[in-house]
């Protein structure tokens, strides 16, 4: 879909594909209960983490809808792996993408995620021509909520008790940002007015 190259350097980080040797560093944050919530694969036990890393090692580009790009956040000075960012290309026609992230709590509060996510947003909108990016988070995760606001995302949904998570009623927030909101100069894809379009094949009622 594009010709971007990895790793990507930010001020203080390298965003690079996962490697076999990352299992221990990933286990340090991936097995925490809070991390399980939006994990693409569950890993309650550290033995599952090798599978998680194995899968992420192959997630190095977005070729078709459904693909995920998974990058390790590695600190430049000491090569410490502190977390991960993933970009999922969920739909091609309407250009939808989702971003998920995890950070080892020991490294929170230092702006690393803001830095990594800005880079991922640029990549999504500039390289992959994503139209709208979403992030989901726990309604009680104040860190994430603040982070989304810093990035200029809009709160689109606040679901209350819509599902059970680890035996408790869940509260979930959806944040979104459109390409033209991230880059105010971006041209809007021009879909025709509804009345001018032929009928689509019908979905089930």
């Amino acid at each position: 879909m594009s010709s971007f190259s990895l790793p990507i350097a930010t001020d203080r980080l390298q965003l690079r594909p996962f490697e076999r040797g990352d299992v221990e560093a990933v286990a340090a944050y991936h097995t925490l209960p809070a991390a399980q919530r939006y994990a693409l694969r569950q890993s309650r036990y550290s033995s599952d983490v090798a599978d998680v890393v194995g899968a992420m090692r192959n997630q190095v580009s977005l070729q078709r809808p459904g693909d995920t790009l998974s990058l390790a956040m590695v600190r430049k000075g000491d090569n410490q792996l502190i977390g991960q960012v993933c970009l999922i290309w969920s739909d091609a026609t309407s250009g939808q993408g989702e971003v998920r992230f995890m950070l080892h709590p020991a490294y929170s509060g230092q702006g690393y995620l803001t830095e990594a996510l800005r880079t991922i947003f640029n990549l999504a909108f500039d390289e992959f021509r994503i139209h709208r990016l979403t992030v989901r988070c726990d309604g009680r995760s104040h860190h994430s909520i603040k982070l989304m606001q810093t990035l200029g995302m809009r709160l689109e949904a606040h679901y209350r008790e819509h599902a059970l998570f680890q035996g408790e009623w869940d509260e979930e927030l959806h944040f979104a940002i459109l390409d033209r909101e991230w880059r105010p100069s971006t041209k809007v894809v021009d879909f025709r007015r509804r009345s001018a379009t032929p009928d689509l094949p019908r979905a089930a009622i």
Partner: protein, 189 residues
């Protein structure tokens, strides 16, 4: 859980009853209209489409497992005229989630029939504590539908913008929801 009501369900002015084969023309009279289909997933339906839909609905009367749906004809008690249809879908059994929906003939809109029928259906879903949360969705431009949701005491939970392409245009969608305890508080109040 299971919901197997004794039909018809009645309200002051209405009967909510199973569809029968004789309803095809009445259903076609509103489901064939572009103004009715404007915000529906379906395009306007042909008479054959309606015959098929009515056929399916004659068995969509109980909720025995996740994914089941109840779709009922709403008729006027006074003259037996079919006014529209109303649905309750069991979306999640673990979290006891359901979705409600409604479609009425334009000639019978603006008279509070949809509200009256929806209230009865929500009552059915909540009366024995079967559901924990009910939600409804609609296009942000479908003012009649989201005003109905607000009249029913539902809260706007989501406002999605350009999250999909619908009938060739960027879609904008609302989600509304009501929890069992919110409904109970309204009943009490």
């Amino acid at each position: 859980m299971a919901i197997r009501p004794d039909y018809p369900l009645t309200t002051e002015r209405l009967r909510l009853r199973p569809f029968t084969r004789g309803d095809v023309d009445a259903v076609h009279s509103y489901r064939s209209r572009p103004d009715v289909a404007r915000y529906l997933f379906d395009a306007p339906l042909s008479r054959e489409d309606c015959a098929l839909a009515v056929q399916q609905r004659t068995t969509q009367l109980h909720l025995d497992q996740e994914g089941d749906r109840i779709i009922l004809a709403v008729e006027s008690q006074a003259d037996g005229v079919l006014l529209g249809e109303i649905s309750l879908i069991w979306r999640s059994s673990e979290a006891r989630q359901g979705e409600v929906g409604w479609i009425f003939h334009p000639a019978y809109q603006g008279k509070g029939f949809a509200s009256e029928a929806a209230r009865r259906l929500i009552h059915l879903a909540f009366e024995n504590g079967e559901f924990h949360r009910l939600y409804a969705r609609c296009d942000a431009g479908n003012v009649a539908s989201w005003r109905l949701m607000e009249r029913l005491g539902m809260r706007r939970e989501a406002h999605f913008r350009e999250h999909a392409v619908f009938k060739g245009e960027w879609d904008e969608e609302f989600y509304y929801a009501i929890l069992l305890r919110e409904w109970q508080a309204r009943q009490a109040g």
